[in-house]
Each structure stands twice: as structure tokens, then as C-alpha cells.
């Protein structure tokens, strides 16, 4: 079920401001790809172009192509609503729906289509998704309590459960651990390790150790100058990026001389 992603000559704009320019890269199915780079270089922007979340910001648009197994998700007969359902997303700050219970949160994406589902079916989806998110044991006694009552790390795993409940092809994560404590971070990293068996995962992180721990491939983005669009500097197997980068800017960044 996991798909490959090919981005070709992608430019992303906020109004007249070009935030990132000329990005081309490929992401293999069932792998973890990390986006690293200094703050403001456009990592989140590129990530959000992959499920067409970029365009929900007023006056934001993209040019170029994003191919999902060869299918252009910006094609004329593609429905962005379906794209977002097919490509799940986890945000920097855990954002469970504050008014919903834990189980309602998990099935929030499923119930959107208004189809009738039996309670047993929904229950089994809740359990499966929470198990996949390593959260089941901690919350199974209080599924009807508000999702906002959980700890930060639990909330983030709840958001992951919510994203995978609709069985997406790809999981996008934008700095999923940056608001969490170290123990919760480890739990999420373990989870990513398990999930990559089923999903293609793209993760933005500002933490280079994290990129090294969880990803097979790393893409390094950089900002050539103030007011200029961010660029993809290089993308390569994570080991090589950290041991032997081809670009000087990458070397500077990972050795902490910059950014």
C-alpha cells in the first residue's frame, strides 16, 4: 500500500513570496526520509505541498509536480480532499480535537464521509489504530474521556492513530517531537520504526540525531540568503549525509558550524 513520491521542479509561494524554489527529489516506498535544515528554509512548506495542505493558506500556491506512483496529485481531475485522505499528516504541536473523546478522535477522519458504520466496526478500527500507535494499553480504560486530557506524548500518538485510522498511503510528520519530552520522543521514534513497515514516511526534524536514528534517507534544505527562496541542497542516504556529504553547506550545517 505504500507509494513512492517524486517531486519535480517544485516552487512554493505565499502570495508573491517564493518560499522554496526548484525542489526535485524522490522518496522510496516503505522508507523514512528526513528533511533537515535551518529554520525558515522551507522544510514544512515542501512537506505540506505533498498532501496539498499548502494551498489551504490564503493566496498560497505551487508550481511544478508532485507524483504519487507516477500520478500527479496536482493534476486537473484530482480532488485535494481525496489527496489529504490518502496522505496523512501529523503536526508539530499535538492537535487532537479538544471537544472529542479519545475514540471519537481516532475515527474523526473516517466518519467524515457520513457512511453508516456499525459500532463494532468502529470499535475495531479504534483498537487497531491505537495499537498501531502504541497507545492502546495506556488509554483502553478511558476511550470516552477527552483527548485533551492526555499527556503531550500521548496526544501526539493519538494524532498518529487518527492519521493512520483512514489507512493512508503515506505519513507526513512535521517536527512531531519538538514539543515533547525526551521519553515521549523515544516512544514516537520507536513507533516510526514500526510504522515504516507499512507506510512511506517523511519527517521534518530540527534534531540531527533524530534524523540519524530514524531515517534511511536525508534531505538537507538551506536558505541561500535573506528573502531568497529556500533550496534543496542535497538528498542522499542518511549515513552518507552525516559521514561524507558532497556539499560544503551540508558539512557546515551538520558539524554545527552554521544554523
Amino acid at each position: 500500500m505504500a507509494k513512492r513520491i517524486d517531486i519535480a521542479n517544485l516552487d512554493a509561494y505565499y502570495g508573491t513570496f517564493k518560499a522554496v524554489g526548484d525542489v526535485s527529489l524522490s522518496i522510496e516506498p516503505k522508507s523514512v526520509t528526513a528533511f533537515i535544515g535551518p529554520s525558515g528554509c522551507g522544510k514544512s512548506t515542501v512537506l505540506r505541498t505533498i498532501n496539498r495542505m499548502h494551498e489551504v493558506i490564503p493566496r498560497a500556491y505551487v508550481t511544478g509536480q508532485v507524483l504519487l506512483d507516477g500520478e500527479d496529485i496536482y493534476g486537473p481531475d484530482i480532488d485535494p480532499v481525496n489527496v489529504r485522505r490518502t496522505i496523512g499528516m501529523v503536526f508539530q504541536r499535538p492537535n487532537p480535537f479538544p471537544t472529542m473523546s479519545i475514540s471519537e478522535n481516532v475515527v474523526a477522519g473516517l466518519t467524515l464521509d457520513g457512511k453508516k458504520r456499525s459500532k463494532a466496526e468502529l470499535d475495531s478500527i479504534v483498537e487497531r489504530s491505537l495499537r498501531q500507535a502504541n497507545l492502546w494499553e495506556e488509554v483502553k480504560e478511558r476511550l470516552d474521556r477527552p483527548g485533551g486530557g492526555l499527556s503531550g506524548g500521548q496526544q501526539q500518538r493519538l494524532c498518529i492513530a487518527r492519521a493512520i485510522a483512514v489507512q493512508p498511503q503515506i505519513l507526513l510528520m512535521d517536527e512531531p517531537c519538538s514539543a515533547l519530552d525526551p521519553i515521549s520522543t523515544l516512544a514516537i521514534e520507536d513507533l516510526i520504526e514500526q510504522l515504516k513497515a507499512d507506510y512511506t514516511i517523511v519527517i521534518v526534524t530540527h534534531n540531527m540525531q533524530q534524523a540519524a536514528r530514524v531515517s534511511e534517507t536525508t534531505a538537507f534544505f538551506n536558505l541561500p540568503g535573506v528573502g531568497q527562496p529556500g533550496r534543496l541542497v542535497e538528498i542522499a542516504p542518511t549515513e552518507r549525509i552525516f559521514s561524507n556529504p558532497t556539499q560544503e553547506a551540508t558539512e557546515d550545517y551538520i558539524s554545527g558550524r552554521f544554523g
Binding site: V56, F97, A108, L112, V166
Partner: protein
């Protein structure tokens, strides 16, 4: 006053030192004055209730009919005053109900339009325009309702009678469509729009961006996002907004006084002339009332005061609870 306070040191004439008596006195006086201002507000609300009760009692004692079940309004009739609030209650609740049925969806729609559907520059202009609606004095709404809206609503009244006349409230046996409860309700609906939309807009714009994006990222259409992420979050605020609008509709005086024909009868045919409300009745009967008549109007005002107090307290209670909940979470 207080003997333990050190006297101001000689030489420092300017009362700057923290321990200076002048300073203390200044602070005490200023604090006392502002406390007095705060207490005054509490006293006013209490005094409104007390004085209305006190001045209502003579007429209630003189009344020879049941105050709650009588529709007629002849308080100055001697020797046996007869008056009651049945028709007033009916008219007040019915006009307010029409105002709510029309005003709540439209008011929330405007709020949603400004908070989510319009682009930001347009939104702030539109917010200003709806606020302008709130600045129009109510007597002007009344005049407009009588001389502009009434002729334009005749067609609607006839249409309702012709096609929905099998529903009793829409039947019109008089073939007269002016000065009706329906027209008063429509004008009230327009008048409560700014109240409802202002507070709804405030809570709808407070919905966190992250909650909205969570819903969109799950593949919600815009409307599904509104229902999934925005409405549940904003619901307590929207309920309070509707209650505040209801409070305004219940107490509106001059617009209703101009539009209704002020007959104290209960008439379920809402497109026919007739009906009266607490507030309009007070304004219309005031100058022709004798001592018992004034007291009777005050008694009816007391009932209106109690009703609006309950409605507003509930509305504010909901807001306060919600604010506390949000601060603590």
C-alpha cells in the same frame, strides 16, 4: 487614624516615600473611591429590583383580575382595576421566537463568513459594516419597519396564507397584513443580528489554526471542517450569543411599539394585525396612565426585568464557565 504608621521624615516634603502617611492616605482614598464606584454598580442592579417591586405592589393589590392569566389592560378602571400580562407574555415570547428563528442562523452565518469564508481584508470591513447595524437607533428600525418593510411583506403574508394557510399560525382571516407579530419579529431579527454575529465571530476566530488544519488534513471539505473543528469548539459561545440576542429581542421597546397595533389580545395568526409586548406596552400606555396604571406598567416591567435577567445570567454563565475551562486547560 492609624498610630503605628511612621510620620513622614522631615525634609521630604514630596510624599514619595512608600512609608509616608500622605502616600498611604492617597492610596487609601483612591482605592476607596474606585471600590465605591464598583459597589455602586452592584447597588444599581439591586435597586432596580427593589424599587420596581415596591412601586408595583399598589397596583397588584388593587387588581381584581389574575395578573398572570388576564389579557385585558384596564388598570385605571374604577372601582375595579383589571389587568394582566397573558397577552403581553404571548406577544413578547412570540416576536422574540420569530427573531431567534430568523436571526440565529443568519447571525452565525455572517460570523462564519467573516471568520472563515471571506478573505481577511474584506472580513474586517464586513465586521465594521455589521457593527454599524448595531449603531442604528431602534426608533429608526421601527420607522423603517412600518413604512418600508410593512408594504414589502404584504406579498409574503398573502403567499403564506394562500399556500401554508392550513397551518393555523399562517392563516389570515382579515386580509390585512400590517402591524403584525410577524413583521415585528422580522425587525427584531434584524436588530439582534449584530449582537449574535459579534460574539459568534469572536469565538469562531478563536478556534485554533491547528484544530482547523487537523480536520482539513484528514480530508474534510470546508463545511465538514466547520462542523468537525469549528462548531464544537465555538458552541458555548454561539449559544451565549443567541441568548444575548434573545435578551435584546425580549426587551426591545420602541421599534415594536411603532410596528405593532398594540392590542392586548392573544392572536395565533401571526400575519394579522394585533399583539403587544411588555416593553412596547409600557411605552405606549405610559403617558395616558393614572397612578394605578403607572404602577401596573411597573409591575409588568418587573416581570420583563426578571425574564431578561434570567436569560442574560444563563448566557453569561455559559461564557464564564467556558472561559474558566479554557484558561485552566
Amino acid at each position: 487614624m492609624s498610630t503605628t504608621v511612621e510620620p513622614a521624615t522631615a525634609g521630604t516634603a514630596e510624599p514619595i516615600s512608600i512609608h509616608g502617611q500622605a502616600v498611604r492616605r492617597g492610596d487609601r482614598i483612591f482605592r476607596g473611591v474606585s471600590l465605591f464606584a464598583g459597589i455602586t454598580i452592584l447597588v444599581i442592579i439591586g435597586a432596580i429590583g427593589i424599587f420596581l417591586i415596591w412601586r408595583a405592589i399598589p397596583s397588584l393589590q388593587a387588581n381584581t383580575a389574575n395578573f398572570f392569566t388576564t389579557s385585558a389592560w384596564f388598570p385605571d378602571q374604577t372601582p375595579n382595576p383589571v389587568f394582566g400580562i397573558a397577552a403581553l407574555t404571548f406577544g413578547t415570547l412570540f416576536t422574540a421566537a420569530i427573531a431567534m428563528v430568523l436571526g440565529v442562523p443568519v447571525g452565525i452565518g455572517i460570523a462564519l463568513f467573516i471568520a472563515q469564508y471571506a478573505d481577511r481584508r474584506l472580513a474586517s470591513t464586513l465586521g465594521f459594516v455589521t457593527d454599524l447595524l448595531a449603531a442604528v437607533p431602534s426608533i429608526i428600525f421601527g420607522m423603517w419597519g412600518l413604512s418600508f418593510l410593512t408594504p414589502h411583506m404584504e406579498g409574503l403574508g398573502q403567499w403564506l396564507n394562500d399556500y401554508l394557510g392550513f397551518i393555523p399560525i399562517f392563516r389570515n382571516d382579515l386580509n390585512q397584513y400590517s402591524k403584525s407579530i410577524l413583521i415585528a419579529g422580522v425587525v427584531l431579527a434584524i436588530m439582534v443580528l449584530p449582537t449574535i454575529s459579534a460574539l459568534s465571530r469572536e469565538v469562531l476566530t478563536q478556534v485554533p489554526r491547528s484544530t482547523i488544519e487537523a480536520s482539513l488534513a484528514l480530508g474534510a471539505t470546508r463545511w465538514e471542517m466547520v462542523r468537525q473543528a469549528m462548531f464544537p469548539f465555538a458552541r458555548p459561545g454561539m449559544i451565549s450569543a443567541a441568548m444575548l440576542g434573545l435578551g435584546r429581542a425580549l426587551g426591545e421597546t420602541i421599534a415594536v411599539a411603532l410596528i405593532l397595533s398594540a392590542s392586548n389580545v392573544i392572536n395565533w395568526h401571526i400575519t394579522e394585525p394585533g399583539g403587544n409586548t411588555f416593553a412596547a406596552n409600557i411605552a405606549l400606555k405610559w403617558n395616558e396612565a393614572g397612578p394605578i396604571g403607572l404602577s401596573a406598567l411597573i409591575a409588568s416591567g418587573l416581570v420583563l426585568f426578571a425574564i431578561t435577567l434570567v436569560v442574560n445570567t444563563i448566557a453569561r454563565g455559559i461564557i464564564a464557565r467556558h472561559a474558566e475551562f479554557r484558561e485552566s486547560s
